[in-house]
Symmetry: D2
Subunit: 328 residues, 4 copies
């Protein structure tokens, strides 16, 4: 299933070392100005090779819009966007052709499909998120017109909350041939009340599915999240005032529907499974073997997940905004 959304539907394609990656957006309202310069900054933000902290793979990640635009405006027809892969270096991955990298999708793809593109993880590569970010950029432009903005912060890297310490943790892990994870918080401001749909289209359910569908995410919280389990009802409920609420433990969602408060989501990101340290694994013939995953990897994927998480939240919200229009 490579399609996401019911109203603003995106369909993504592409592998890490294939000819190209891209996305088709179906359901974008007509009449909005849109060109590559609306998309490119978002791709640049998630692009590799931009700092010591991220993978040194050099990709221009230049987006081309293939359809759906007429004289600079959306027409209501599908918007296809494509980025060509320029620097795949597939030879680096030849050593993994028959070995399953621990913590990766290698084994499960092999089991599911009986064939696996081992070059850079194929479709399971984080590079796939490029398509989501491109689509998310369009979603964010639509949301901005409706007064909705999305921001995020890295709350924690390997247990550290201070940015300088976070960076130190990442560099230390890199030096050790290891990796670290962290926590990202994403917030949407300006959402109207009424988004989300009981009982299986709850806004929090859609967000949880969207976020857990980002590779490396292992936990999703809404509002106070995990902490809610340890509180009394009298502490956790948000009292109301004439115009709103006195607190936001709920994270902006009640009964699966937005309340008009900020929507607050946190995700826990696991440490990158690709590490130089020797690990035990098996190959496709069933032999136990050692593996060292060198190559161009991020010692901490957290910073590069930020634009992806924002994109996913934007995609959920624009879908709900268009859905809600049906009933107004």
């Amino acid at each position: 299933m490579n399609t996401f959304g019911n109203n603003f539907r995106i369909t993504t394609f592409g592998e890490s070392h294939g000819p190209a990656l891209g996305v088709v957006i179906d359901g974008c309202p007509s009449g909005m100005e849109l060109s590559e310069i609306d998309i490119q900054p978002f791709l640049d933000r998630r692009r590799p090779g931009t700092s010591l902290l991220s993978s040194p793979r050099l990709e221009g990640d230049r987006v081309e819009i293939l359809s759906g635009i007429f004289e600079g405006k959306t027409t209501g027809t599908p918007i296809a966007m494509m980025v060509r892969n320029e620097n795949p270096q597939s030879k680096d991955y030849e050593v993994f052709r028959e070995k399953f990298r621990p913590g990766h999708a290698d084994f499960t793809y092999h089991e599911k499909y009986g064939i696996r593109d081992h070059r850079g993880g194929g479709r399971s590569s984080g590079r796939e998120t490029l398509s989501r970010v491109a689509a998310g950029a369009v979603a964010m432009k639509l949301l901005a017109k409706r007064g909705i903005t999305i921001t995020s912060t890295i709350r924690e890297v390997h247990g550290k909350t201070d940015p300088a310490e976070m960076e130190k943790e990442i560099l230390a892990a890199k030096t050790a041939g290891d990796s670290v994870g962290g926590i990202v918080q994403v917030t949407a401001t300006g959402c109207p009340a009424g988004l989300g749909d009981p009982v299986f289209g709850k806004l929090d359910a859609l967000i949880a599915g969207a976020m857990m569908g980002i590779g490396a995410v292992k936990c999703v919280e809404i509002g106070d999240g995990f902490l809610a389990a340890e509180k009394f009802g009298s502490e956790n409920n948000d009292p109301m005032t004439a115009n709103g609420f006195l607190s936001n433990h709920a994270g902006g969602i009640l009964g699966g529907i937005s309340s008009g408060q900020d929507i607050v989501v946190r995700i826990a990101v696991k440490p990158t499974p690709s590490i130089v340290k020797i690990q035990q694994t098996r190959d496709i013939h069933g032999n136990v073997v050692d593996i060292s995953v060198g190559g161009r990897h991020d010692p901490c994927i957290v910073p590069r997940i930020v634009p992806v998480a924002e994109a996913m939240l934007a995609l959920v919200l624009i879908d709900c905004v268009l859905e809600q229009a049906k009933y107004k």
Copy 2:
């Protein structure tokens, strides 16, 4: 959106104080023996009025199968099931007709629909989960035939991990006119490798959406979940052996696809928002008012969420099992 699933599709209906609740299952394979006695025990397990710890509302919750069965077996046509409401006592809720109960869907339903069934929460009532449990019972019977079983444990209530202490916490909260939450872990054993579908139909994404779609759930974790964010990659990866894995930090899912290990999910449940303690809220006219939510409520919803969480996991898994059959 009251339909869940792509292959084993359930559509639920009904309000807390309406004539009936029920579910239509579409896509159930033919030829399986099925009757009310397969369903009733699951409904009895989530039924209110069975202990001091739960709501005293007395409901028989007798299920009737309306279609889809011929001479005791499923035929491949829709299986409709219905439970009539017998003991609604709607008068108790008259006081909430114009007041929004804090922590409830009252305000957001009002904003979304402009009309709200205030009687027992209407469609937003936990009573809605009865339909899910009935459908989940069918899913579990199908899964059992394929060697897949689902179990769960209450890991924590209001911070306590010992069952006797949990019970004390619940009774203390009840006495105080307050409520508490907790943590539930659900495990599926016997899943084949290969379930789940990249990139937007990942098994963990589907599970996260399903679980966060249960009222009162505020956090979903897969495998080590939140803790993964604080580990090194070398600690978090699960090394492989000739026949499987040496550990299961991943919770049985890699790259969104089941690995054949146990699937492990944890959810954090907020304290029941309905409490006797006085809270501040507003009414539909914008006046700030006090509210005490008496009546028949669970001081802790955690025990009654257990069968619901199991049902949701079963619904996700049978859907993926049928999906996977297409590619075999």
Copy 3:
């Protein structure tokens, strides 16, 4: 697949001789007055036992609304409706338990599911359309509020276009133990321009699928339909005026999108396959056997298909109306 529609979604259930038939409507806008008296007249119209021309099966077909209504109005939650079967007389069908009735779904259900409810055709019975008519009644009420009305005429029965002759043909067929078919035209008036969605959600494509999905329909035409194939472009194009069109060969749809003209659909209905005349068939063991399908059948299903065809058109149109709202 027992669900129809993307925005106004109906899910139907029930067999001819099971406990009940019904439908769940998901996506009905809130705030519309609705009760059983809005539905019952439509069911009465398609009810058997009302004339010499139709099946003598006596059914009250009393509809009960099970959910989705609060104080006489829709709430935006699922509307479940149910009709109990009262007069099934399953014994009449015992003779068909192992024989495949020609022209019926008996053989194909057997092949697909390996099990078949032979009593009255089970789920493949025309009685299934009761659920569609009930849902269509709600759709028509919503459409009427938007100025859209649906009407239909029987254009032909067994080649005759005069109503008196049609009736004679039906009675003659009945006397001969045979059956006849005919042509029905359905028209929607008052549709705004803009309904339907390129390229796979074209309004004519949706209508064709909806109509061909009615049992016994073998041909669907839009506008001039078949005749368009025999005309010159200069004859078939509809010239435009300042305010509209000079003709309506297109049947109100251009490029899959409504033009604001009347939407005109014609369907060809085959003669009822259930006939008393002896036919050759086979049984489930592969033996060639004779069969006479006595019992309570319509010698011509055309008059009873009329409300079903109207319902299906209404369901397509309300779905498109709600879809279109997203982009306004």
Copy 4:
């Protein structure tokens, strides 16, 4: 809605004069050999500029596969395919920027979207079917492996059934600045019994929707189609033998499910609306104006619809074949 299918899902994009057209196939089983040489012959068959009877637009229509293939085989991930537009000549269409061509989607797109790509019809161009044909080529390869083949014949052009006379009609229409339509019959051989799904996923309903969704199609018939309405039941039923049927009036579908006989579909195609002859229309300002649609148009679209109709039938069938696998 630019996505078609539930299991073998295609999403198409592109306009007649935009940068490119293409399709993403999601749900293609893994392990099948596939490359551009499997696709190109199908595109060549529908390509313009190949005879006096078709549009002189010169397009190479070279397809490029962008994803989903690894070492010559499908991997189960999305297969994206793209064709760049090379010879658009948009200036020819400048005259139609503000005029609505009769019989075209110009007016309805304008009404729906408020913006319209007038260059070559934009998304409503027949050129869009290129994407369907590319996807259909993949579907046909999958079907062929399962013993299912699709063929078609032009039954009629402007009322003529003899091929030489058909050609004469087309050339005469061209000379007169006019256009003609016709009838195409498509047949699938080798389908197993059991495809299609009651009650809203009936095989004939899916086919009717797919065929009516091809621009210019105004009528769809299954089996005897329209003629069934004029027969007695005793004539129209197909008697069964020990191994099959004695006739195929039903067109291979009973109760919406394939019977194992040939599936027979006929479509009526309207005359091309683009004609040189002067017609009356209006412009976007409401003025009545004359129009002559010169340029590169087919005087009869029937021959070029043949590969499109075959593609659509293939897409429906592979979708049902994969669906059916779930229940085996």
